[in-house]
Symmetry: C2
Subunit: 466 residues, 2 copies
């Protein structure tokens, strides 16, 4: 058949790629089917060939990394001050979310969070003093992730902040995270008002000792078990933590009652947790971190062990590329904005909480939590489809973390950067949204796909190790 | 075309009714499609005509009943001793689940529960004494449902038992239910050992005063809100109450702490609730009862306001037939049996807990709780299909009680006995399973369809009122 024969016959078209071709055919009544396919990400062909020629070796390395990640047994084993436990912590060091960044490139909410921390630490009396000190060079900054820690949103950890100790009992490593402050005007969203500092002081002086005593009495709290149950109860433990917070509360409450100084303290502590359905987020994050850290430093593995944003850059680390960060600009999420705010007020995506997605939770498990998709106008079927798509780019399924609506299938776990590039499908992330100016706080919550650039760079960096 | 022409041509068959016809055609390679249809229930044709000629009137009456049922605002407003609050309660009266029944026809677990109650009340010292007294004629028996009450399994309520007061704040009526004892060897499953009585005494002397003070401090606990949330968290509030119990616990705990006599009592009370994920069942039941009672006595309505089993008979009451009971034998459920037990040990279906299904919850909302279907070898899709089928026989949807996996569709609510008969689809019920002998306790949990006979009789009784 020649080309001219082809166009003389009745056309039946299968279109791959740009949908505009199909739309043109639709408009003139030619039957056409659209295939849901995108070309691979445009990367150096030599690097793509290098990866493809090492396919079996990469697969074996990925299975090794995934075995360690899936075997993780995260448990809450205690609370301490950051200075006393976080490796490398010191009085003039402030940890932040995402990849490394200098003060001059930091976004508004991260600056606001640092200012709040400096006032909380008593190193500054006013926001102006705090801002001056922050930029003076006296204060050092480093990513939480480089200190076995994670932090939601701005992710600020300063020396005297209490932190949860979450131990991966299978591997022996520990991850750290501050306690969740609640919603609205809070440090992690960049707010630094008097009420913010006052709440942090109450958390240090009342909440922390109460929880520390309760956890000491309990010995350990099995976080893997709570997360597994919460996924059966409508949580994805990133943007929805209502069930996990409830289950944790039930475990903690009797221990708080029996170890507490007095009934007033007990009641205040219980009410603080009861009023904050996100209290568990600061445990689902280090639980994920403690597992993923066990999968680090597996040569030849293309599995993502960190996705994190500092509100300016989105950074990725791989099991097979050591401590290298691969970064690109962070995007502004689609969101349900609080009354009075719009996307124009929103800071680009920020926080280490995407460690949950990196661990097969959050957006990867959103089929277990369709209420989140409803926020942004989606349906329960959309939620199923988001999770289904993530199986395309992951290396394994977590048999303990299951999605009831997918007939209890394990969550898609372990993002394989090779699949991301070859299929051109980007990780789906649930997120909170901070105001772009310091001092304001949260303005919404929503969803987005990770940006392409860090994954493209990670692929290239990985390919060069082969 | 004549019959002989028909059989000379190639057959393409649409089969309605018995599947064996299709199977015969399949075996000889004739294309055949099976339509999922059953003939209507075989009822007196005159009565069927009577109902069909009053279709519009029945529909209007049903909408009136449903408006009252759906508008219900059930709230926990207090706890009191049964004798002090339940209408018509007296010292020698024992309430039981299901339709009316005499001692000689009662099943093993109901007899066991009554024996436990008589020992708990101090009217008998040994099981033998209790059995003798129970059969002596000194003790009167009546259904919970005839005293604005409901009880799970044997449903036993005696004079000094504490009960929850659940008020329908929209309509003003109140429903009553005892507190849940936990699983295993408990009164409601027919056990009467020393540990059973000891637990009931602790509940009366420690748990009851603590909860009474806490609820008094709170004023009210909104049960409609808790149930609505729990359906988003994997509960159907009949066989699964983990989320609802957790949410209730979070509300009660701070109030218990601040009103409690001492920290030991507080801790014991919290641990008791924490160890029993079914604690909320004894609130979802009166919450359903309080709503459905508002829909009673609507002439011309074919809506079911009670489905209840006494372990011998399954009974139905309708909005349009006053206090009449329509009964038939109760079936033995399909179940997951505890180790060491089989279906041969099981008592026929028992308890007032099917008031949840009558209110669009439990088996009617099982799509929200697929883990229950997994118990008995089913899949998440089976759970969706059970709920979808219940829309066929219900008069309305509850916009507050929603099923996430059906894109937040309201639960199918208000069983219409006309639809049950015309479509020959029977209500789907989740249930616990009691050992058939008194003194043993729970042996499993499962699902079943309601028996046909009570619905057939209810239809006929209803038709005669027209």
């Amino acid at each position: 058949m020649t080309i001219s024969d082809l166009f003389r016959s009745d056309l039946k078209v299968v279109n791959i790629g740009l949908t505009s071709f199909k739309e043109a055919l639709d408009s003139v009544g030619v039957p056409a089917v659209q295939v849901d396919w995108k070309p691979p990400v445009d990367v150096d062909p030599a690097l793509l060939r290098a990866v493809r020629s090492h396919r079996a070796q990469i697969e074996a390395a990925n299975q090794k990394a995934m075995a360690k990640i899936l075997a993780a047994q995260p448990a809450l084993v205690g609370l301490e001050k950051a200075l006393d436990v976080i490796p490398g912590m010191k009085p003039n060091l402030i940890l932040h979310s995402g990849p490394p960044i200098t003060w001059d490139r930091m976004c508004g909410p991260m600056r606001g969070g640092i200012m709040a921390a400096l006032m909380y630490e008593g190193r500054a009396k006013t926001p102006a003093e705090a801002e001056k000190l922050a930029a003076s060079g006296e204060i050092e900054y480093a990513p939480c992730h480089e200190h076995s820690a994670v932090g939601p949103m701005a992710g600020i950890v300063s020396a005297s902040m209490p932190v949860f100790l979450v131990k991966n009992e299978e591997n022996g490593n520990t991850a750290y995270c501050t306690m969740n402050e609640g919603l609205g005007k809070v440090l992690r969203y960049g707010a630094y008002g008097e009420d913010v500092i006052k709440r942090l002081k109450w958390m240090e002086q009342v909440l922390y000792p109460a929880l520390k005593k309760a956890v000491a009495k309990l010995g350990r709290v099995d976080l893997k078990n709570i997360i597994a149950q919460a996924l059966h109860m409508g949580d994805e433990v990133h943007n929805r933590n209502r069930a996990a917070t409830s289950l944790l509360y039930r475990i903690l409450a009797p221990a708080i009652v029996t170890t507490s100084a007095d009934p007033k303290t007990t009641a205040d502590v219980l009410e603080f947790i009861n009023k904050n359905d996100h209290f568990f987020l600061n445990l689902s994050m280090p639980a994920s971190k403690a597992g993923l850290d066990a999968g680090r430093n597996v040569p030849g593995s293309s599995v993502v062990v960190v996705m994190a944003r500092n509100g300016t850059d989105f950074g990725v680390q791989l099991a097979g590329t050591g401590d290298a960060w691969f970064t690109g600009p962070a995007d502004v999420p689609d969101a349900l904005y609080f009354p009075g705010y719009t996307k124009a007020d929103a800071n680009p995506d920020i926080g280490d909480s995407s460690i949950t997605e990196t661990n097969g939770l959050g957006g990867f498990a959103i089929a277990a939590s369709p209420a989140i998709v409803q926020f942004v106008g989606g349906t329960a079927d959309d939620a199923l489809n988001y999770t289904r798509q993530m199986y395309e780019i992951t290396a394994a399924e977590n048999s303990v973390y299951q999605v009831p609506a997918l007939n209890f299938r394990g969550t898609p776990t372990g993002i394989d950067v090779v699949k991301v590039v070859e299929k051109n499908i980007l990780p789906f992330i649930d997120t909170g949204v901070a105001h772009k100016e310091p001092g304001v706080g949260q303005v919404g919550a929503g969803v987005l796909n990770a940006p392409l650039e860090p994954f493209k760079k990670a692929f290239e960096g990985f390919a060069r190790t082969l």
